[in-house]
């Protein structure tokens, strides 16, 4: 700030207050709605002060939507996405920056291309890929004649063994979301900025690649890993389209889908109080992460879009 203007300062505070109010307003009304009874929710005009049924509605929504199960599913899927993507990208980033091997650039470009197409544009074929993950392998073994060969010799039906249906499984919810290379690039970028002397020193001390990775690179990447974990946590928890397609059984759905099922439809009783109470516990984990780790979150966001 160069100089102070009282008028400008007041104007700016007003703008920010309006902005903050616009952010909070839907949340406040959701809270009010979540604390009323079904009858009270339908009053005109809508009450401006909360009622006294919030806890009651929350408990009701939790039981009605089987959230004990859905919450666990959401946690498993989110943690699976975060750890899976971090692990896969860390080692892949390490390999393409620290190793000379044949087809290194091919591997690099194959990973690079995957940045171009977001999952949303290849919904249906990915659905098929998950519904029949063994399909490509079956086709391959058929083509090279391995299926027939094994069936002739041992009677073992290879094609029957390769029927993997990943619908309604954690694998089906997690793996397609890990299939993007953004994190690999983030780590690759970071590894390129690590001084070469560190690797030289590690080599002189007789450390192999894995020891160097584990004892030098990983500790150095701690900040990036933390920042990226937060972004991935939000990404995983807030997934909507995948769980919607891949879980046809209620028991395998995520909390987000459970919330969607609570939205009143046209003809049913308008139980918005239940839906709104539920929306709070569904958005609580990512909201807490953002509030408690704002610094890491901002770093992660700015880094991951570089």
């Amino acid at each position: 700030m160069v100089e102070r203007h009282i008028g400008l300062s007041i104007f700016c505070h007003v703008v920010l207050l309006i902005g903050a109010a616009a952010v909070c307003m839907p949340l406040y009304f959701a809270f009010v709605a979540g604390s009323l009874t079904v009858g009270e929710v339908q009053q005109v005009p809508f009450p401006l002060v909360p009622g006294s049924h919030f806890v009651e509605n929350t408990v009701l929504a939790w039981n009605e939507g089987q959230f004990s199960r859905l919450y666990v599913n959401s946690l498993i899927v989110t943690i699976g996405i975060v750890t899976g993507k971090l692990a896969v990208s860390l080692i892949a980033g390490f390999a393409v920056t620290y190793f000379r091997f044949p087809f290194r650039m091919t591997a690099f470009w194959l990973i690079f291309i995957s940045l171009m197409l977001p999952v949303e544009v290849r919904i249906i074929p990915t659905y098929e890929a998950v519904a029949d993950a063994g399909g490509p392998l079956r086709a391959l073994f058929d083509a090279i004649g391995l299926t027939g060969f094994i069936a002739d010799r041992t009677g073992y039906r290879l094609d029957a063994a390769l029927q993997w249906n990943m619908i309604n499984s954690y694998g089906g919810l997690i793996l397609p979301l890990i299939a993007s290379a953004s994190a690999t690039f983030l780590f690759r970028q970071f590894f390129l900025t690590v001084p070469d002397e560190l690797c030289e020193a590690a080599k002189l001390d007789g450390a192999g690649p894995l020891k160097f990775f584990w004892d030098v690179l990983l500790p150095l990447s701690r900040a990036n890993i933390a920042a990226l974990s937060i972004i991935l946590f939000l990404y995983g928890w807030n997934q909507y389209l995948w769980p919607l397609l891949f879980t046809t059984e209620k028991a395998m759905a995520t909390a987000m889908i459970g919330l969607k099922d609570l939205i009143p439809v046209a003809d049913a009783q308008p139980a918005w109080n239940i839906a709104m109470a539920a929306s709070f516990f569904v958005m609580a984990p990512p909201a807490l992460v953002i509030l408690l780790m704002q610094r890491w979150f901002t770093k992660g966001l700015v880094d991951s879009s570089k």
């Binding site: 929710v41 080692i91 892949a92 544009v121 249906i124 074929p125 098929e128 690039f185 991951s304 570089k306």
Partner: protein
């Protein structure tokens, strides 16, 4: 769709010379294969292969094969029961482009995306400008304005669907009292407006983070010089801060388009489900509708291919944006 500026700032690996004469003769090919390799590196091909294998396998099964299938499905006609498959060339595309529904969907997607992009940027710009000019309470304002980033598009949709629900929604009631016949379940324009508001509310925080950082990065010396020349804060903002933040703004325009095109599925599905009368049936939502509800796989695949082309275009724009961001840095 986060990406990296990997390509632009690669270290030239030319420093490590190729060891074998044969390789040297391969010239540029060999040099390019050194790009992005650390000067001090390991030579354990099998280990390296093992390390990239998980990533490549996941990409093969859940990226390359599905993408290939989408591309090939776009040129065939499949009956919904999965029986026969006939090669039809570009028929799926010509049917698509001549269908008024698809054209309507494309136009409304463009309208929605452009409105969402501009409104988000303007609101975020105003808030970032204000944040730049206050001393007290900055952290609190920031914390509150960032909050919607944690909220899933689907939840944002649920919240706004409730607020503007024509029978119980508090804001809809206010509109009714003011004399507006608000009803997103029947009036197409109301539905589109509602979806846009939910999308903007959810996305302002993203632009805001980047703009606050960009405004903060303007060197104080430049601002002081402008102040000495007699430029008042608003003028300084328009003639100094905004031009210096131009690369960030370009980057955000691209990211807003990507968000509007691909990431608003959850909002549309929870608020309107594409209705009424297809008035919020954006291109991405239509792929889902046609493929999963109507089981018209050929048309849906052709639509996917068009979206892929758009996505590739935006990825390139995004790289351009990042490149410029690097070049402008003072």
């Amino acid at each position: 769709m986060p990406a990296s500026n990997a390509i632009m700032i690669d270290r030239e690996g030319a420093a490590t010379r190729p060891r074998f004469p044969l390789r040297r003769s391969l010239g540029s090919l060999v040099r390019s294969s050194e790009a992005g390799l650390k000067a001090s590196h390991f030579r354990r091909p099998w280990l390296a292969g093992g390390l990239v294998a998980p990533q490549l396998l996941i990409l093969l099964f859940f990226f390359f094969i599905p993408t290939w299938k989408a591309l090939s499905l776009a040129f065939v006609q499949v009956d919904p029961f999965g029986g026969t498959m006939i090669f039809v060339g570009l028929d799926n595309f010509t049917t698509l482009f001549s269908s008024p529904e698809y054209r309507d969907s494309a136009i409304l997607t463009l309208w929605f995306t452009v409105v969402q992009c501009i409104a988000t940027l303007v609101v975020a710009g105003l808030l970032a400008f204000a944040t730049d000019n206050v001393m007290r309470g900055r952290a609190i304002y920031k914390g509150v304005i960032l909050l919607p980033y944690a909220i899933a598009p689907a939840i944002s949709g649920v919240l706004w669907a409730f607020l503007f629900n024509p029978t119980v929604g508090p804001l809809a009631q206010m509109l009714h009292e003011l004399g507006f016949a608000w009803d997103p379940n029947r009036r197409p324009f109301d539905a589109l407006l509602l979806v846009s508001v939910a999308a903007i509310w959810k996305h302002v925080c993203y632009d805001y983070i980047f703009l606050v950082a960009a405004f903060l990065a303007v060197p104080p010396s430049v601002m002081e010089a402008a102040a000495i020349d007699g430029a008042r804060p608003v003028r300084r903002f328009l003639t100094v801060t905004l031009p210096m933040a131009a690369p960030t703004i370009f980057f955000l325009i691209v990211m807003n388009f990507v968000y509007g095109l691909f990431e608003t599925f959850g909002i549309i599905d929870t608020v309107t489900r594409g209705g009424p009368a297809g008035s919020t049936n954006t291109l991405v939502y239509k792929v889902y509708q046609d493929g999963f509800r109507q089981l018209d796989l050929g048309s849906s695949a052709a639509q996917s291919v068009i979206l892929m082309a758009i996505a590739v275009l935006f990825t390139f724009l995004q790289f351009r944006a990042v490149e410029r961001k690097v070049n402008y840095q003072v």
